[in-house]
Symmetry: C2
Subunit: 220 residues, 2 copies
């Protein structure tokens, strides 16, 4: 295929191809050469005209993937729902984060945060400084007010929940066997029941998520 | 001063000077030029002969600082102490990490982990993959066995404690006012009492640590 005259189309073609390969082969096992080979005639120069590195392509893939931010839309809907108390909303937020399609696509790209300091550092800071106050804290505040959440520190609690859910409980940061996951879930269950929140019915989705990631990894 | 004939002495002079300036001015406010200006005649070339960058100097300062690892020696002593149960040992570990002199020197260098992705990422991974299994898990296992710790998941619990203590509760990662700290402490108190561990008597040391860091920051 000849080089596309329209840069935006070229960029989209590169991102489509990269995303497909990241999902098929895993991010770490995909080289820039693999991407070029699958672009049907686009040269190395053309790709480097738009992107500095493979990591740069990944960042663009992620940015495009989350541009619509379906999870955020669902979370807003949950936050405004008048038929749920705070504890139910907290559980719904966690559940949606696991089953959200964009999040699943992202997880399927086989990114290993352990080898990507900038991404891991961003994740840690974003979990505590953005996700906690914007998405989790308001729901905890409601729960404390309506009595469904038993621990009266909405800000601090939202930070701990966000950090544990996004980092410690994240198989892309700390890979887990089913047995590891099982024990982590039991500990989380105890901690959440201290809050007054029973999360057992989101566990099937959690196990499913972890199994998908492990199966993908073992296929590579 | 003429360039030292002995490279090791030159390196030590650079590290002594850098460490002193990091403590006085803070790491972020110290430039390589500041270090050169305080070396009495050593040239930029001489410094770059030994170190690639300011971050490289910092890493060498830290490595030298922790070469003896006084905290690790104290932790080993606690782990072997036959007069403490597991819960008492856990509390002693946390206390020593706060008052240890090397840790205090490290904290006094005004490092802002938020701006240092590699260091933050290392801290997160080290907390869960090294500190938790090596230092905290054995003490929790003893506590579970002797009945002083009430939650039977030593591995997972050690990871959560290490991650929260080293990252979430770390004023170099998430700066805190006294009021923030107060609420974090109350939440931790609740979580620790779920384990059967009362940590109230290490709080004065915690407040003292945070106050020192904030005073230093406000002086800059």
């Amino acid at each position: 295929m000849a080089r596309n005259k329209y840069p935006e189309e070229t960029v989209n073609l590169i991102l489509d191809t990269a995303q497909r390969l990241f999902i098929e082969k895993g991010y770490e096992h995909t080289t820039v050469q693999d991407i070029i080979d699958n672009l049907g005639g686009l040269t190395k120069g053309a790709i480097y005209h738009h992107f500095k590195s493979k990591e740069d392509i990944l960042n663009a893939v992620i940015e495009r993937l989350f541009r619509e931010n379906t999870l955020s839309a669902k979370w807003n809907k949950i936050a405004k729902d008048e038929n749920m108390n705070g504890a139910e909303k907290l559980k719904a937020l966690l559940y949606e984060a696991i089953v959200d399609e964009q999040e699943q696509t992202f997880r399927s790209m086989g990114i290993h945060f352990q080898n990507m300091p900038q991404m891991l550092s961003d994740l840690v800071l974003r979990s505590v400084n953005d996700i906690a106050p914007q998405a989790i804290k308001p729901v905890l505040e409601q729960g404390i007010q309506d009595g469904s959440i038993k621990v009266p520190f909405a800000k601090e609690l939202s930070e701990v929940i966000s950090l544990l859910a996004n980092v410690w409980f994240n198989p892309l940061v700390f890979p887990m066997t089913d047995d590891d996951l099982n024990k982590k879930c039991q500990l989380i269950l105890g901690m959440m029941s201290m809050l007054g929140v029973d999360v057992t019915d989101i566990y099937p989705a959690v196990y499913n998520m972890n199994r998908q990631i492990n199966e993908r990894e073992s296929r590579k």
